[in-house]
Every structure is written in structure tokens, then in C-alpha cells.
Amino acid sequence: MSQLSTRHLLGIKDISTEDIQLIFETADNFKEVLNRPIKKVPSLRDITIANIFFENSTRTRLSFELAEKRLSADVINFSSSNSSVKKGETLIDTVNNILSMKVDMVVMRHSSVGAPHFLSKHIKANIVNAGDGTHEHPTQALLDAFSIREKLGDVAGKKVAIIGDILHSRVALSNIFCLQKLGAEVMVCGPITLLPKHIGSLGVKIEHDVEKALQWCDVANVLRIQLERQQIKYFPSLREYSLYFGINRKMLDRLDKEIVVMHPGPINRGVELNSDVADSEHSIILQQVENGVAIRMAVLYLLAGAK
């Protein structure tokens, strides 16, 4: 198979295990390209990609933009802070206006669940979901699984604990779907108020004690507290969260094994992750960032071929 089964990447839920494997194999090649002195390939020459971010983003937007430029695509950027969205223009109008400029692909981040799905029904361009509310963030899950594969050789059979604010995390949901498709066991861990009530129905283990989660897992993927998405209070204070759910070096030292620590960034240092963990040999956080470019190159390249 050399083509994806879909012309959009809206979520991990919607793609097959074969799609994921194809993305990984393609990313392997692009990662090799990224380590060459000349990092640019002409694969997407004459393809125009619009990065439309209705929500703040630094690393995801930069990662996509770099991936697009490495593929020689023409890139335009749009963010809601300097757009007409604030003047009351609807999503469909904004995107149609951009598409009138003959854009081939849209990378979109939006605070509303299902916004890229809505868009996919109304526009012709390929759409890559760069995060929709508390739903999915598929390229993050792909780069996370790709990084586990790179570090541990395989994802199948590995135990991955996702720790933190699961309720407000699109990364958690995409990771659960992706890791399960690749044969990993998944646990979620956090305060009970930050775990969706029915999360167990997704076939994940549930734990509220971080030390127990660390003892169980091969990989700890630590999520940031999404204060900006919490419309009401879910825990008493950041101090209490950090004391009872934060991960520090002592916890890792108490383990009788080496585990891998991941974080999708940006880190709230001293809250969910202490610096002595984030910057330790256990951490593959910066490798995740590097792999993000290769994964996004692979996704864009394959979707362009699916036109």
C-alpha cells in the first residue's frame, strides 16, 4: 500500500492501522532527509497549503510550517488574532475566502470539536486536523507513537500511561486510539475530576495514583494542565495538583526500571513535570519535537498524493 485510505486527516479514529504504518514508513524516509545537509525536497512544489489557526499555537504551527517548507510547498498562515473572525465572520466564510485564493490543503486548529469535520463537508481541499477542541490531535498522536517506536523498537506490547488532564486533552484521545491500533496497552491517570466519566469504555486502564501508574508503565506521556480549556474548577490549586499528580525525579529513582517520559508541550514546569525529569535522560521530549516535523511531512506528502 502506498496511499492513505482517506483524503483528510481528521482523526486517528478514522484511519486504519495500515495508514499509520504507511505514515511511519514515510516519516522514516523524511527523517533521513532532515538529517542531510540539504533538508529540502521538491515533493509538494506548486502545492499551496494554508495553516489556519483559530487557537493559539506555537510549536504545532511552526512544526507544520517547517514540514511544508521542507517539502517545497507554498505556505500561507492565518491566525484568529489578526483575522476577521473577531469581526463576526463565520468559519465557513473565513475558510472559503482563503480557498478562493486556490489553496490545495488546509491545516486547521480550532477550539470547537468537529470543526474540521464540518469543513471537510463543505470544501474541496485536503484537511489536516491540527487539533479540534477536546477531540483529536492526530499528528501529535502519530509523532508520539513514532517516538516510542524509535526509542523502544516497537509500540506493540508496550505499556503507556497517559498522565494528567485527560478530560480537556485532544492529545489523550488521539493517543489512546493510535496506541491501541498499534497494539499497546494504555492507562490513563489523573484526578478523578479530570478523567471523562466513561473513559473506561474505551478499553483503557484507570489509575488515580501517579506512582502506581509509573510502576506499571514503560512510557509515561505526561499532559499539561489545560487551564485555558477548563471552564470551571476541577481541582483546588496548582500547588495541590503538583504535590499529588506532578512527576519528579525522586519518583523515577524509586522505580526498579527505566521508563521513557514524554510530554506534548508546552510544559508547565513544576506543575505536571519537574525540570529534573523534563531535562533528564528519561525524557524524549525534544525527540518528539524533531519527529513532529518528519511525521507532518509524511502526512502532508501522502495526503497530497491522495487527491
Binding site: L91, H117, T134, I199
Partner: protein
């Protein structure tokens, strides 16, 4: 004008009666044998159709006054008539809310030429905000006997109690769509496996269960007459069943579409399916059907809530709640008839609503006649509403109303 209705198959609460000739005398429908005084001017062969007493909807909305572009009183009148409804309770959630004699008089004047009878539900609290009472006794002088805040639950227990007490002066009925708003805060759909899979903020059954329980306790204390609208959970059915056994003066209805759609239909993010209460799971649906069968649930409603395209053609969480319910009511019943039976369905839109409204009558002075097998397309051409927010818009449906009678009014559709 007398019309011979030949081979009419009349559905009542118990059965589909064998074909029999009836005569519409111009005021009521009577057995052919007792109608020799009326010269027949027209004969209609009804042998391919089914019929029942005219239908009653306990919950529908107009946009007028304030949002006439969504549904005007004129368009709503057309919608009701063509959908087979001879009587409808109109919710008070307009702009301004229906809360003074002015609005009542305005709506009555607008509905003066309607085929269907209008029952206005007046707001129980000012601007339907759940705080200060409206002038309930004064509104009753305009003939209003149904009160409620329509789309908004009266969640303040003290307000609910006092309104239930106050209404007792004239045997008024309080309609309430009951849920605890704080437990439904920011919710977009039913909380369950599907909402978890798509990361959508859910509305738990708990929000309804706890509020129904609370309101029944208040009713037990205050007395009065309480009608729960559009209940949707197994817990609500169980609570109301117990309360009825105990003899509390309570009735309940459900939206027909709770039996058609479920939370799993949300996977496609169709904003036309975003309704309140949300479409729930299979266990709740089973409980609602049990509730219909054992009489816990008295009526089925359309929950007709028109929304213009700009309120729906957008991101799911930003779109407004509501779905058209009247014109697709018969096709929806046709989908359920094998499972639930025509007599049970029909009883919940005829005798059931009459019980809720305290307007029981054995007189057959209205009739809805329909073809359960006729196919038609619900589209721009057939749509009588000013809105089109239905998941079935632009699809072929089965089941068409053929004619309706309401006392001295006879309309072929």
C-alpha cells in the same frame, strides 16, 4: 356540507378498527347510520388510509414575535395543519417572551385564521429567567391555563414551589422541561461512550434524574399540577412511575425523536441533531417505550424548534439547540409503528394530551387521515416552515397526511 368517509379505518387507543362508513356533518364525524339528516355532497374513499381523532402537540415553537424569520405564526399555522395537528401548545420563548396580556392577544389574533386550535403557554417567570413570577392571575383572565418557561427549566426550588401553589387558584398546569442546569453546563450531547469518543462535553442523565426527583418532592409538598416535558432518561421514567403510583398529580411527555435517534448519531457532527434534552442511549430508549406502554408517559410531542441556517451551519458547539419536528412527525411514527403499534402512538397524541390538558372528550369532532405508505420528499418545495433544520431535509420520507378536520374546518392536504 356533509362528506361520506367511506371505509374509514379509525385508530383508537386500543385497536385499528375495521373499515366503516362515517359522515362528516360539518361539525363532527358520526356513524353513517345515525346521519340520515345530512345530505351527502361528497364521498371520499378512505380504504387505503388510516385515521384517528385529530392530533394534539403539547410543545412547539414560533419565532414570532422577535424571530419571525425562523417561523412566523402564519407559517407555523400552515405547518401544523399540513402535519395533521388540530391543536398545539405554543411555547413562550419568543422576543419578548409571552408574559403579558399583549403577547397573548397578539398571538391569538395571529392564530385567528388558523385551522388548528392554539393553546398559549405563558411564561411562568419574567423573561423565562426562573426568577420573578409573571402576572399569572392576570394572564389567566386571557384564558391562559398552561404556564412554564418553555426551553428553560425552573430550577430554583422556591420559585417552582410557589408557582405550583399559585396556579392552584384556577387549576393551572405547570409545564417544565426539567433538568439541573449546573449539571448540564456547556454540555452539547448525551454523556456516554460516544461523547467520550468524540471528546464532546456531555450532558449526564444525572442532570435530569436529580431535577425530576427534586421537583416531585416539591410537588408532594406544594400540591398543584405538574407536567414534565420531553423527559429522556430511564431514571426520569422510574421516578415519575413511582410518583403516579403514589397518586401525585403529575403527567409527562417525550419527544418523538428520542425514539428515532440516539447519541451514536452524533458521530457525524450533524448540528440538526443537536437538541435539548439530547438524544440518549439504548437503555433510556427502552425505558421510554416501557413508560409509554404502562402509562407513565402520557404524551408524545414534536418539540418543534425552528432555527435559521446561520444558527446551524457552523461549528457544533456554537450552533443552537433545536430541530424541526412537526412535518416529519408522521414519517417518524411510520418508522416506529411496527415496534410500538399505531394505537399506542396515536393515543399519545390524542387522548394522552387531552388528559394532560384536562380536556378529555369522547366527541369525534376532529380527524386526521393519513396514508402510512405514501412517499414524499421533504425539501424546499414541500417545506411549509421558514426553517429547514431537520436531519431529514432533502430526503425521501414515508407517510403523508391526506386531510384534516377540526370542528367546522375541513382541509385536504
Amino acid at each position: 356540507m356533509a362528506v361520506l368517509l367511506q371505509a374509514l379505518r379509525l385508530i383508537d387507543s386500543h385497536r385499528i378498527n375495521p373499515p366503516k362508513n362515517f359522515v362528516y356533518t360539518g361539525h363532527q364525524i358520526v356513524d353513517e347510520n345515525s346521519s340520515s339528516d345530512f345530505p351527502i355532497e361528497e364521498t371520499i374513499d378512505c380504504s387505503d388510509f388510516l385515521a384517528s381523532k385529530g392530533w394534539v402537540d403539547l410543545r412547539c415553537m414560533s419565532g414570532e414575535p422577535g424571530e419571525e424569520y425562523k417561523e412566523s405564526m402564519d407559517s407555523l399555522g400552515e405547518v401544523l395543519q399540513s402535519s395533521g395537528f388540530v391543536k398545539a401548545v405554543l411555547m413562550p420563548n419568543t422576543h419578548p417572551a409571552v408574559q403579558t396580556r399583549n403577547e397573548i392577544q397578539f398571538l391569538k389574533s395571529k392564530a385567528a385564521n388558523w385551522f388548528s386550535d392554539l393553546i398559549v403557554e405563558a411564561a411562568a417567570t419574567k423573561d423565562t429567567k426562573g426568577e420573578d413570577f409573571t402576572d399569572i392571575l392576570d394572564l389567566n383572565q386571557e384564558g391562559v391555563f398552561v404556564f412554564g418557561d418553555g426551553l428553560h427549566p425552573i430550577s430554583n426550588p422556591d420559585r417552582l414551589m410557589k408557582i405550583l401553589q399559585y396556579l392552584q387558584k384556577f387549576d393551572g398546569i405547570l409545564f417544565d422541561q426539567t433538568y439541573e442546569p449546573l449539571l448540564a453546563l456547556f454540555g452539547q450531547m448525551h454523556e456516554g461512550l460516544t461523547s467520550t469518543r468524540i471528546g464532546m462535553k456531555g450532558i449526564p442523565n444525572l442532570a435530569e434524574d436529580i431535577a425530576i426527583h427534586k421537583n416531585l418532592e416539591i410537588l408532594r409538598y406544594s400540591g398543584g399540577r405538574l407536567h414534565f416535558q420531553t423527559i429522556s432518561t430511564k431514571g426520569a421514567v422510574e421516578e415519575i412511575r413511582k410518583a403516579k403510583k403514589e397518586g401525585l398529580n403529575v403527567t409527562a411527555d417525550i419527544s418523538l425523536y428520542q425514539l428515532i435517534f440516539s447519541d451514536e448519531d452524533m458521530l457525524d457532527f450533524d448540528t440538526n441533531l443537536k437538541v435539548m434534552p439530547p438524544f440518549r442511549g439504548k437503555e433510556d430508549r427502552d425505558a421510554l417505550i416501557e413508560g409509554l406502554k404502562d402509562g407513565t408517559i402520557d404524551a408524545i410531542v414534536s418539540n418543534h424548534q425552528p432555527q435559521d441556517i446561520d444558527a446551524k451551519h457552523m461549528e457544533f458547539d456554537l450552533s443552537l439547540f433545536g430541530m424541526l419536528g412537526l412535518q416529519t412527525f408522521l414519517p417518524a411514527m411510520c418508522k416506529l409503528a411496527d415496534e410500538i403499534t399505531w394505537p399506542l402512538l396515536i393515543s399519545k397524541i390524542t387522548s394522552g394530551p387531552e388528559v394532560v390538558l384536562g380536556q378529555q372528550s369522547d366527541k369525534l369532532d376532529s380527524l386526521t387521515l393519513f396514508d402510512p405508505e405514501e412517499k414524499w420528499v421533504f425539501d424546499k418545495k414541500s417545506n411549509k416552515s421558514l426553517s429547514s433544520n431537520s436531519p431529514w431535509y432533502n430526503t425521501e420520507l414515508m407517510g403523508k397526511v391526506k386531510f384534516v378536520i377540526n370542528k367546522n374546518k375541513f382541509v385536504k392536504i
